[in-house]
Amino acid sequence: MMDIEREKELVSQAKNNAHAFGLLYDEYYSQTYSYVLKRTASVNTALDITSEIFLNALKNIGKFQWRGIPFSAWLYRIAAHEISNYYRANGHRQISLDELVDFDIPDEEQAEAQTKLEQQADFLAVHSVVVRLPLKYREVVMMRYFDDLRLNEIAQRLGKSEGTIKSLLHRGLEKLKRLVKSDATFQRPEGF
């Protein structure tokens, strides 16, 4: 993780300097893509949303005000917004990067990434249930179990108190129990 002072300096430079923004991109691309993939369980969708996140960040970095919260937290808010948009549109998105570039990603590279994802049956099975939670519970559960964050880290990222996060997590898990119990079609994945 980048030192906070270094990050602050880089963010300041990135408002006017493409190279500095590139360094921020290098630092946070993997985490951002990983975050999105865990929520969408689709490589193609994760790539699209990741592109939108960084484009959004690029457009708005001039307005970013450093208030002691890491840049990553701002980035995650953008990410959460883009993912939320994705779910609201039921998975149908218009990507606005056409005017910049047509991504030329080799089919085999993308297919390989998707295959690797599909091999992780445990994750996909759990994901298929968690994703049905209401957004406010879903995000807390995903951060806790998919991203492996501690409660105080989730609180910081979401801008809420730790007490609120505990409560949301508890209610989210209760809802998950009801979903699993009532889900007559819940198939026991291989390995369960």
């Binding site: 300097n17 691309y29 445990d122």
Partner: protein
């Protein structure tokens, strides 16, 4: 039981997300290109490159910088003459960016991992003249290679500074200066696609640095058996050979902007050189040999305060000519056909 297993799995879930490397790379380029477009209203990439060079003429600059960047500005001006520059379209710019970024030596020369600004000045015979990040480069679109460049910059990377300090410490004279408490000023770097000759360098080199070592006060100092009073020492470093060229410890006679204008005026006033220019000579950078009619500018300078000369190499089709210019006397002192430099 299924509920229990579900929550056991939830507690222990781990996802290997991996990456799609080509997406990471292409998105980076796309974002930086978007940044260039964002800034294009505020700053014309071409003018930024020219401004960088023009700014040199308003401040006292060491010989090396004017000497070498005169070639750049000539190239920039020449880019208009030779090619009637056209508005670049995006696919062409993207292609040029890709070619430049795939040349590690060029990217090392500009000291950056990415291209920030780029403007195609024109294209002729598949050679694109490009203003990129404040410098000039020539890109062969047919072979998809960077054909020539000459980069001058003032920003030193940490690695470059470390290399320079290592070289300074290897040399007994400069190590002595450092031991005496001289402070190091990193003045400039110069990189070219093929070896260039600078009058201060022993050999032609493709990468050089200029630093100055300054003692805290003027004092008698002995170097190489010579006693003199000096507080500043200008050091030329050949980065390719990792050695120091002769140390300039006398006040240098600098070649300034008005000298350059005079040189061009002298060429126009001489019937021989003027005729070559009239036949369609284009002004390009010091190392480019790809255009059909070119002027390659190489400048040598003497240390005398009362004598300033310049050596120019002209090329028309495949024939090379040398013109020695007496700047003070405003005349071409020698002109003739020479072999390929």
């Amino acid at each position: 039981m299924e509920e229990k297993i579900f929550f056991e799995k939830l507690e222990s879930i781990k996802l290997e997300t991996g990456e799609v490397a080509s997406h990471r790379r292409q998105l980076r380029v796309a974002l930086l290109h978007a940044r260039v477009k964002q800034n294009s209203d505020a700053r014309n990439p071409l003018m930024k490159g020219v401004d960088n060079v023009l700014n040199l003429f308003t401040s006292k600059q060491p010989v090396w910088r004017v000497m070498l960047t005169s070639a750049v500005i000539i190239g920039v001006i020449g880019g208009f003459f030779i090619t009637r520059s056209t508005t670049a379209n995006e696919p062409q710019e993207k292609r040029v960016i890709s070619i430049l970024q795939s040349d590690p030596q060029f990217m090392n020369a500009i000291g950056s991992e990415d291209i920030s600004t780029l403007k195609i000045l024109g294209i002729r015979n598949d050679i694109a003249t490009v203003a990129v990040d404040g410098t000039l480069a020539f890109v062969d679109l047919a072979s998809e290679k960077v054909s020539s460049y000459h980069v001058i910059r003032e920003d030193f990377t940490d690695a470059e500074k470390a290399q320079i300090l290592h070289i300074l410490n290897k040399n007994t004279i400069t190590r002595t200066l450092l031991d005496e408490g001289a402070s190091t000023k990193y003045v400039g770097l110069s990189f070219a696609s093929s070896p260039f000759q600078n009058s201060a360098m022993i050999y032609p080199t493709d990468s050089a640095a200029w630093v100055s070592l300054t003692l805290s006060e003027t004092q008698p100092f002995e170097l190489n058996g010579v006693t003199f009073y000096e507080d500043r020492f200008n050091i030329w470093i050949d980065l390719s050979r990792e050695e120091i060229s002769p140390i300039e410890y006398m006040t240098y006679a600098s070649l300034n902007a008005s000298d350059l204008v005079e040189i061009l005026g002298v060429l126009r006033a001489d019937s021989r050189t003027s005729a070559l220019l009239d036949e369609g000579a284009a002004l390009i950078s010091i190392v480019d040999l790809h255009t059909t009619s070119t002027i390659i500018v190489g400048v040598s300078n003497t240390n005398s305060a009362t004598e300033k000369t310049a050596k120019l190499i002209l090329k028309l089709n495949e024939t090379y000519y040398e013109a020695d210019v007496d700047i003070v006397g405003s005349k071409v002192t020698w002109f003739g056909e020479v072999g390929k430099p």
